[in-house]
Symmetry: C2
């Protein structure tokens, strides 16, 4: 493996806009080389968007399908390693750090990632009553302006309104408040809070509610409100149509999207990749969305020894996409719609791949066949042709690409204090979740699947949870009904058939503030054995039984409450 | 020329989403054919965005450089005519009617264009005081919702806030109010009006100002407020890199952008193309932006016998783009920036074309040479290499493509009652404006050029205005200082050199409510002869002399006030 040092290309630590241009030239120059290690020496490297290349990207589970600037555009590279030692990358709004597109054998390791100006800000609640809140915002760290009763935050490329809502964090636990909720101000729906903002002193802003709502009862002074004024636009690592990608020894303090989002990529290893709170700035938030998110991955996903904390959505989500049959042209051809706004523009597969036809009411597979053409009509609709005549093509049914069902190993990680849930596991591959620690406000494990609203597939076959610690999980009811939750959305179940097949929960430690352990519906087999259950007084208990099961065909346990 | 009827492809009048898909298939099928006439028979054809193709478009002088859906994508076509007879096209939000890209000899004629739901709405002022306004909005025609003190308008693809401001129209004259102004509500700058909206009865909305401002003194009950809730995103005809395009016998009632915007297109004929108020719906607005706008056109522009009224920006604008030299790499190479937000993504030229280097302070050309490479780095920056070494490359100077300087003939048209000015003429070609009628709130003729703010080029050589009627023009001061205005923005003039060369105003009729006729700066020669001047009492006079000249080197006139 040939080693090159980026300083040979003039890329040096320092706050220079030209670094992005030099990086771009370097990548163009070496684009065809294989077996290459690109070394960054110690220091802080700044990457501005100014001279970055631009790509039209339809990033799944992110906002805004449009042109985005990319720093490390690794399109088409093979057998390339990018490595650092005490190397920090500081990005400047708005730029996407890494796009790994049509790559093979890529390894990135030894870097720390942050943004000069975060996409979110935060404020401390100084006082809160039913209708008023006084918020202290560090104007230097999080510059803002109050204009015409609205609050705007200054980012590096302009000002943005506080349009994505807020999340209150418990100041002591550095985690979402018990029974908390997302709140938003002045959004165009009634459940949003009508509010008038005004300056109330140095670093002080008063929020007065103008409609019928009151601030949540769980709000209290001293807590920190995360102020979301940036759409989820720029993930840190965007992987598409690649294979054998390793991310290792990486620390991500912030990005304006997910830490990792992959589409149609096989064999991904994520090892000692921490999404963690900044040690100096002590922000309550890290990534603005999920930790590691996989859409139609293949091969094996391995996530090992990671700390994933305080990001603003689930730490891990593995799923496919159900495309809804919009129009049946004939027995071989359909027009399929991507319904969910964040899935727009994702081509569901390639000729030769196997697709299932699924009844959207039962979510059960009716038929399966090879596709011979998939053509995007536009980001909403795609044309799909099957090799053979099909019997079950029906408007409203959904299709799922069956050629992507990764095996998963998640081991030795800590997942804590983020918004929402823990691991969202929906793959037909073998899933092993072992020796992790969960402190999540929602369900620590969520096994779902939905063919009518989110359109995230699919049915699972084998999931083993062993030797994990579940510590005071599921304390925000809207994000989960129990530490372990199986809740596919099928409205109708067929006799003797279930959407999910097998969930084994063995040798785990549950430290819980109430009775709830497993909530499961529409599951063939649940085994819950050799687990240790301890009670805590962390929170007041939330009502519920240890096992709340509906439609579970086989259930074995040695725990009786 | 082979004739085909669209009905042969299943395209029929009627409100069907499939029409767009059938159109798309038809265009794909005939894409390679030349000498073709495509006939639409009588009827109303609906075009929905659902099945339309998508293109990433950087449309000059429009908002939002992103993917847009296109109905008639005529890319690469040659010798094609699209014609209708009593044919109406009704588009549905958001779709761009025509993209004529890399085409030769295209003619479109005999169609009427409107949108099912307009991008703007309007309301009648029922009462207005300093701080309150009561507005009557026809909720059926312009559905809206008042939520949390803000007003949102329902379009076909969602709801949009009233974010682009408002323009008050005189109900009797159906034109902008005398000395009126654009106003906006709750935008993030202090000059915008802080406002709280609330429902005040059926079809009634009350607007209360919350800040220090008062409603303009010129506002009065009975007038119509045009409510702008849609960015200027989808022009009606978008012409790029084409030649010999004719638009004829076309009526445009509405589009959410300019009626015609062209970039790098030669020989454009626009004949009997009316942008006119809808005869039944009687909306106060037509197109949401300019009428006919030409960026770096070549050959000859002919605009004949058109009625252009009530659109929300200038009826005609002909200009180039000044790119600012951002970085001088060496005597042959520069990085050039597109500074103005609406010009982003426009590549300034092709190898072999002539570029001028212009001192941004004097706006005078220092040097001229052929370019051998123009490469977009991204939508903001482009790399330009000159064939020869240059002496004057300087950061902050601007470059202009000199290979595009169209001759212009504008004849027999009426321009009236729009927002802003009349004809913006900045081309080094021969410009003849003859036998038109102007009733514009701003300057009827504006000859500008700016290398520091708008970056619209360039210097003119010969402009003849003859036998036109200028009727009560320039009654809104912020849109013009006189019926004829020459006002390039150069801050420094060089001894004996002027930015604009020659303006002859001959045999026109001026019907004016005050003394102002010509305001001109930085012009070599002004000839004002054989014109007829009549006084009207349409408006109270606005202070000013007949000729307000500064830095005009030669001035001939037979009119002495």
């Amino acid at each position: 493996m040939r080693q090159i040092y980026v300083k040979e290309f003039g890329i040096m630590p320092g706050d220079e806009k030209e670094t992005t241009l030099k990086l771009r030239k370097m990548l163009q120059e070496i684009q065809k080389e294989e077996k290459l290690e690109i070394r960054f020496e110690k220091g802080i490297y700044h990457f501005y968007p100014d001279y970055a290349g631009e790509k039209l990207l339809y990033i799944s589970n992110h906002d805004e399908d449009t042109i985005k600037k990319v720093a490390f555009d690794l399109s088409g590279m093979k057998q390339v390693k990018i490595s650092g030692t005490d190397t920090q990358f500081l990005f400047h709004t708005d730029i996407l750090p890494f796009h790994i597109d049509r790559c093979r054998e890529i390894c990135i390791e030894g870097i720390t990632i942050d943004y000069a100006r975060t996409g979110y800000s935060e404020g401390k609640i100084v006082e809160v009553t039913d209708k008023k809140m006084l918020l202290e915002i560090n104007r230097e760290e999080y510059p803002y302006q109050v204009i015409h009763g609205n609050i705007f935050f200054e980012e590096e490329n302009g000002i943005d309104e506080l349009y994505c809502g807020c999340l209150e964090m418990d100041a002591k636990r550095c985690a979402p408040v018990w029974r908390g909720q997302d709140i938003s101000f002045n959004r165009p729906y009634q459940s949003s809070y009508g509010a008038f903002f005004q300056e109330a002193g140095e670093n002080l802003v008063e929020i007065s509610l103008t409609g019928g709502q009151k601030f949540p009862e769980t709000s209290k002074s001293g807590n920190i409100l995360i102020l979301r004024h940036h759409w989820r636009t720029h993930p840190c690592f965007y992987l598409t149509d690649s294979a054998d990608v390793t991310l290792r020894h990486i620390t991500i303090y912030h990005c304006t999207g997910m830490a990792v989002i992959s589409q149609f990529t096989n064999n991904i290893t994520i090892e000692q990749v921490d999404i963690r709170r900044h040690p100096v700035k002590k922000r309550m938030f890290t990534a603005t969305a999920d930790g590691f998110h996989f859409v139609y991955a293949g091969g094996k996903i391995q996530i090992k020894d990671c700390l994933v904390e305080n990001q603003l959505d689930d730490p891990v989500n593995i799923h496919g996409i159900y495309g809804r049959i919009h129009k049946v042209l004939n027995k071989k051809e359909v027009i399929v719609e991507l319904v969910e706004g964040m899935q727009k523009g994702v081509k569901l597969g390639q000729p030769g791949e196997l697709f299932g036809i699924i009844d959207n009411r039962t979510m059960l597979e009716k038929e399966r066949a090879e596709v011979c053409e998939v053509t995007m009509l536009n980001k909403d609709f795609q044309y799909i042709a099957f090799r053979d005549e099909m019997e079950s093509l029906t408007q409203g049914f959904v299709v799922e690409n069956k050629s992507y069902a990764p095996d998963v190993l998640i081991e030795g990680c800590t997942f804590r204090n983020n918004r929402a849930r823990g691991l969202l596991l929906t793959t037909a591959g073998q899933v092993i979740v072992r020796k992790n620690r969960f402190e999540t406000p929602g369900a620590a494990i969520l096994i779902e699947g939905d063919s009518n609203y989110w359109f995230e597939s699919g049915a699972t076959k084998y999931i083993l949870l062993e030797e994990n610690e579940f510590i005071n999980c599921a304390y925000v009811p809207q994000w989960g009904s129990a530490p372990i939750q199986v809740s596919p959305s099928a409205g109708i179940w067929e006799e003797g058939q279930r959407y999910h097949q097998y969930l084994e929960v063995r040798k785990n430690l549950f430290r819980c503030f109430d009775n709830r352990l497993v909530y499961a519906v529409n599951l063939e087999t649940l085994i819950f054995q050799d687990n240790k259950i301890e009670k805590t007084d962390q929170f007041p208990p939330i009502a519920g039984e240890a096992f709340k099961l509906d439609g579970v065909l086989k259930f074995q346990t040695d725990y009786y409450g």
